[in-house]
Amino acid sequence: MNPSTRIVVNWGHLALLAVIATVIAAYLIDARATSLKSNNLLFIQPACVVGLILVAVVVVTQGFRRVPAAAETPGAETSETKAPAAQSMSELGKVGALMAVFVALALSMGTIGFDVATFGFLVIALRICGEKSWLLNLGYSAAFTLLLIYGYGAIIPFPFPLTVL
């Protein structure tokens, strides 16, 4: 190995590839467990094999990048191996927090009611996104919740489970 360079592992990218490979492998195992007949595997099996080969190709060619040992030289990376745009921990924390409340909204709206879940999501998400004024936050969240519940309620043929409205 050239002593003037070192290898940087792109852990986030490798984690994504691990997830994709796991999903593909699990799907292939499940499909083969269902039936080994052509009517079942005609398309899935070759597609899964191609998918796993592509994962391996991406891991080998793009999961690791060689950088100068002293400092990272601009332009030394190709577009294929570059790391994602740098984001500070606080910026990533905001993304993570927003994802968490988004997941909570989808999972809770059926049990605590669309009205309460939507209002709660809007209040927290507005705060995460940077709205400082609580008065504006609560007022907007309440008004938008009312608009959505009654607006969508008038259009779509399915009832919303509601708790307050």
């Binding site: 799907y27 294929e80 993304v95 940077g130 259009i155």
Partner: protein
Amino acid sequence: MLDLSAVESAFGILTSSYSAWLLVIPGLLVGLFFGAMPGISITMAMAIFLPMTMYMDFLPAIIFLTSIYTGAGFGGSVPAVLMNIPGTSSAVATTFDGYPMARAGRHNEALGLALAASVIGCLASYILLLFLIVPVSGAVLKMGPLELSAVAIWGMLLLGSLSGNSLPRGLLAGVFGLLLGTIGMNTAGYVRGTMGVPWLLDGIPTIPAMMGLLAASQLIGLVNTKYLIDDEASRKISFRRIIGGFRETLNYPTIMLRGTVIGVVIGAIPGVGSSISNLLSYSEAKRNAPDGHTFGSGNPKGVIAAESANSSSEGGAMATMLALGIPGGGATAILLAAFATHNIVGGPSFIANSKDIVYAIIFSNFAQAILLLGVGLGFVYMAGYIVRVPMRFLIPSVLVVAVFGSYAIDGTSSGPITLVIFSILGWVMVRYDYPVAATVVGLLLGGLVEGNLLRTWQISGGDPSYALERPGAIVIFGLMAASIGLTAWSSRKRKRAARLAA
């Protein structure tokens, strides 16, 4: 090709009731509004208003429903440009350049381009249809599963043009999407990959998955930005610039014409039509343009190519519905149902015996497309104000609207759960420079490719020489090979030109 006595009779039908024409503008507005709302599909808008038309006469009922169809066809491009949310699968390619244009402060021009391309594409498609409805429907009737597989595989190969910087990542994103698109019960009755979740038997719900991958993931990634457009001066809503975008479309007649022909021909194929035609038109425009490398970063030609094809697909789908009685999608199925409530049944005998009604429908669509010009201009002007809304309000609001939209599809939690999972997946994929659009296209086509390959396998008994008995499939495969070869050649030519310039 054009039966003049039937044309005269069609004018007689259209002028028999002036009150029917009063329904065009309300129909267009309903279509625009519903089309622009994430999660509310054209099908849903038409389904909601279908019962109302049962009490109307035939002409007002069909004019009203086709106006909704026309309005919604363009309405979907408004969120595609402004928020990267394709209202339907036919607006996927509009996001590629429309959204980067909006983020660069050229949202006025992008909306003007999209409107002009839609209106002109729609008009041109119906003019083509007037002459081609009989031969096009004859060709569609000859298509078997092998030909449908060939068209779908062609669509998949277009992923090469969507694959961004890295071919392996593009292919992996596409194959992953294809596999996800086959989850559930296949046409032979085998259930795979459902993990015991009952709603996955029908496959992954595509609209919430598409909204999650393309839109919600982007919005979550924008949590640290203040406005959709950073530069304050660029956020202005300018009628003059919308008209400027409109005029700019007229500078690219070749892209428009090619998009229209692709839209009519591919749009006539049931099931795959509009989702493939916009991608095919986009990739053809990218391949032929000298500045093809700038596609995907806000090139107006990309918007024109996508919009001219998806709006003209409407004409193609209408041809199949009228001539064969085969609805290409949900919206044309509702039109067919509306026909049935007025004792009119689409099909080969309908086109032979009721040419006057067919021409009347085509002429009424001309009028709708022209009126869409005026109504659409007002609509995009109002919709353009979205870029002035601070992101701290826009992100939570659009996310919650997407959740409601995904719930509205079937009234269960399957939509919201799918939306959230694919939003997270989309965010991670975008972070590592994977083209999520390739996954979306794969997801849309996975079931179709598998189903048609399976039918071909069953018909042929596993004999590959069966392909030689299908000249249609050979022609499609030939076109596909020519298209790939030309793409490789033009890409090489472009690289050589860049080298020489350097």
